[in-house]
Symmetry: C2
Amino acid sequence: MSLILLGSTGSIGSNTLKVAKEFGIPIEVLGAGRNIALLNQQIKAFSPKAVIIQNANDKDQLKSNGARIYIGENGLKEAIFNSDSKILLNAISGGNGLKASIFAQQANKTIALANKESLVSAGWLFDTTKIIPVDSEHFSLWYLLRNQNIEHISSLIITASGGAFRDMPLEDIANKTKKDALKHPNWNMGDKITVDSASMINKLFELLEAHWLFNSKNPHLKLDAIIERSSNVHALIGHTDGSFSAHLSYPDMRLAIAYALDLIKAEQISLIPPLDLKNLFKIKFEEIDYKRYPVWSLKSNLLRNPKLGVILNAANEILTDAFLNNRIPFGHIATEIIESIQAYETKCLAIQNFEDVLNLDLEIKAYIKQKLA
Amino acid sequence: MSLILLGSTGSIGSNTLKVAKEFGIPIEVLGAGRNIALLNQQIKAFSPKAVIIQNANDKDQLKSNGARIYIGENGLKEAIFNSDSKILLNAISGGNGLKASIFAQQANKTIALANKESLVSAGWLFDTTKIIPVDSEHFSLWYLLRNQNIEHISSLIITASGGAFRDMPLEDIANKTKKDALKHPNWNMGDKITVDSASMINKLFELLEAHWLFNSKNPHLKLDAIIERSSNVHALIGHTDGSFSAHLSYPDMRLAIAYALDLIKAEQISLIPPLDLKNLFKIKFEEIDYKRYPVWSLKSNLLRNPKLGVILNAANEILTDAFLNNRIPFGHIATEIIESIQAYETKCLAIQNFEDVLNLDLEIKAYIKQKLA
């Protein structure tokens, strides 16, 4: 077996390479964005047969070490179709990740999916039996649901840290700036996802992903999210009998990655430190309050009409970018997203295929940009 | 299907009748101790074919409603052998419960086991494939282990409330009396088990039960207990991969009873209120400190030599009784148990069969009584 790894220079990409090394899995294809320096190191260490980069201008700096070089979207598609690997780990962040997932599905690859946009924007267009979730919450749901009779499960609950503003006085949140929003209480991540965590949009994304992964074929399952500040409990499943099972571990992406790459090996060794139960912080489950996280008021509508994820994702991308460039205060992200859903709801519910998704995505982004101009 | 219920007038017995009624399971045999008034009500409500009472003197008060009456130990054995039911729920408290389990095994019944003495004193003599545990901790372990590959499980952890003295200054505990020990922080139980909870002996019993139920055939499993004050987390299993699964529910015996009586029905309906995650107390796992619970220093030895449960159980029965009669202070229970283990360890490890167990049990009880005289 071998692996196609897209988004290799990000945090998940780097962790994937660690796991692949530990498991002795060859990397057939490495794909990265514009961090060519790190990509060169990875090429040296893993000797892939092919490399994909985003931008032709970066080709000169690339030390391909004999690997075939592919460039841009066409290169991405070609590289995927030319590869022998049966599994593609998609850790591309943002909208480009959706295209990678589409190509992977067309090429009949199993997708180990860390890219959120794929399912949020186009969940109904994927065969989720060929998708393995690579993030803590969905991995833990999958882990808890293994060998369970889904008929006797009543709810799927994912946890949220609560983000940078979980203890901020409510009246102060709307005016907060980039500097405040990037102070995540539990860990360092990329800027966008840290803001998505502060706004709770990230958890709406994850509920939509959970819908497509688990709920679309089992509509009796109630989906919800709750705040658990320590981030040691990743998910719970509610049993029909009134009890719950919970999955706990230190937050470490290698666990989900290991299971995606090689389930048999992942079960047999401990890549991550075993949880020290006696030294954990207190575990408390708290409701997600829409007064603190205004986008949470969209939850029911999104779960009833999960195609609306296209709007959520497109609007949020532009708004978060504007926020990170200090062009709008924090509160505007939620306000504008809620307005966008209202403006595009009818149109969005009528879309059918990938082309529709991509077109609507562009239209909404243009609409938001124009509003902010 | 029908049921033999022994110990029907206790708390587990009463809850079993509630579940049997809900599930429409006929009661073939009802067995009780000396609470004839309640037994008469149960006979009226459930019309058993046979009734077992402990003492011939109580026969006059019994309103058997046409049921055949059995008396004492011989009656117990005869009733079990004469019954058609394939399942026997043993909720007898104390040493009499061991005999009931022996008879049930001899008669090839499946034992739904709430009696602790059976496995604590004679675990190696039972076919545990025909035992279904009926208490929260072992039920939750069973629940979590269902459909798991035991090779990839590394530890089994049960929880303890910490009992009446969990927050008492250490130096005060040894001199405490009955009145203090019976103030259990979480619920009302019988006097003996409440004291066993304060001393943590109850959790040593449960570790021994867990050993015979799960560990004796899988010695790689590490057994342990931790304090979880809310009693909403009953057990956890540690996976080889470093993560844990936990089972949570409101503490309600009907859940374990329901699964013991009819697994198919138990999975499909919620007999107990679903856990309201957002309104739980904080969950914190705390080490069991042998300075607060001196018997905890016996844990490793007991798990290495689980036959020593005979001594633990026999000595504790007499000592707890003496404590409840205000004849010894609380601290003496632990001191005398630790001494008894030392005195009888060699002899105990050599015993073989049920008769040996019963004889040693009597010998140790006489030894303790003599020491206290």
